[in-house]
Assembly symmetry: C2
Homo-oligomer: 300 residues x 2
Amino acid sequence: MYDFSADSADCARAVEAGLSQYLTATQLSGPGIPADRLVEAMRHGALEGGKRLRPLLVRQAAAIFSVPKEATLSTGLAVEMIHCYSLIHDDLPAMDNDDMRRGRPTVHKAYDDATAILAGDALLTHAFSMLADEACHADPTVRIRLVTELASGAGAGGMVGGQMRDIEGEKGGFTPDEISTMQAMKTGALIRASVRMGAILGGAEPRALSALTAYAEAAGRAFQLADDILDVTATAETMGKATGKDADKNKQTLVARLGVDGAREALAQIVNEAVGCLRTFGPKADGLRATARYFASREK
Amino acid sequence: MYDFSADSADCARAVEAGLSQYLTATQLSGPGIPADRLVEAMRHGALEGGKRLRPLLVRQAAAIFSVPKEATLSTGLAVEMIHCYSLIHDDLPAMDNDDMRRGRPTVHKAYDDATAILAGDALLTHAFSMLADEACHADPTVRIRLVTELASGAGAGGMVGGQMRDIEGEKGGFTPDEISTMQAMKTGALIRASVRMGAILGGAEPRALSALTAYAEAAGRAFQLADDILDVTATAETMGKATGKDADKNKQTLVARLGVDGAREALAQIVNEAVGCLRTFGPKADGLRATARYFASREK
């Protein structure tokens, strides 16, 4: 019987420990030694953070192919470093201009804008160092596929491109299809990459990879829709960050079109769709099933 | 007889064409299609740019091992995308606050700060896509080594870390050794990575790689010192960007300590040191020799 709370807590602990060990001057050194300030800002932006859902997805997708959880950690750390860099950059005054994140000052408030830009750049860069290291996987062909997958999810046709579309959407006038595309890129692409990277670690055949990709795309939509609903319904205290900002800034979300109740119905339907993609995998996919359901039930 | 002008012009043309072909919505697509604005900003920051010296170094180092120049292009494009992203982010108001670059408005002036941050992030990300693609090199082990090398040169112990140290140095009080370390990281690390990546493409043995690394480190110091001298002596018109800014902002350079004439003597000595590292390679290293000498003679 899969225990979501236990597995996700275990994964979050492993990610926290892994990042804390990796984000040090010794580990990050190259031709030179990083400035203390840069390492501290990277740690501020990456540690004590969130639910670590993306590394959990890597672990859960790999579990279908009986990959031990320890063997998924480097890949999970890499995708989490990408997620954390994106938050640091998104919080900048030039972007969302957020002062608080997870109940603490954002990196640019704790340090300054220049340091936050550089800390984000460094996390992004070292995500790829992490995947390229042989500790990630013994087979260089697998490691290269992971690099391709992560860059594709994080890049112009994925997360960064979605962020650009989101900023353009603030000016108004997006159609429902354009909203979906933007969200699929901004949030969905990295969730998709996480699941696919887990499958790649497990040596998934094309057919299994394709089913897991369909799962991930539905799960990503569920995650984003839940986030949009929470943005409308949650209080700032519960979320540890400013809420209601999407409405303030005229961001285009499905909740604005469907209303909260309509959005909750759509969410339940998308979760069913996600779980339906896993039917051939049996109990080893219970982790992914639980995560899709968690997306619909989470309160922050 | 090696012809520096012809080879560097040929390399610059190939890089321009390669980047122009790669930086399109079709090539950059992932799970989604990039926004036009993002692709345009990436092109603004990467095309019609500079001397393309880093791809030239890749090509010249690989030439020692008889690698055809066409087989070095993807690697050259990757390192150039890293260089271009770093310029876009460095030019931001939160960093150096430059309005002009290569005689044109910087990306954040032509677009806005948010777009410039995202365009830089996307170029950084896709540099790794470029290396991971099998068009870069047939052997995945080589491609993985290139990823490791580029991330190490661009990361916290390299370029980004050097930029952080440079900002800290503006507050004053750096020792001469600290200036050298900062410069070796900020500018030297990517030059070092370029030469080493060329050597890796050529299958260099450890001993050859080590000699080429020593060359690259000296060449990097020459490049930086030449840049510092130019910053003092050149006019804004020749450089196509604001000059004298280093003195304005109390940046720490060797020129401030040695004076222009003393710095020119030191530069000649470093170039000799760089060329001395190549003595075992014969005429196939004439490209790298010419580039080291070019660093000392360039006027912009």
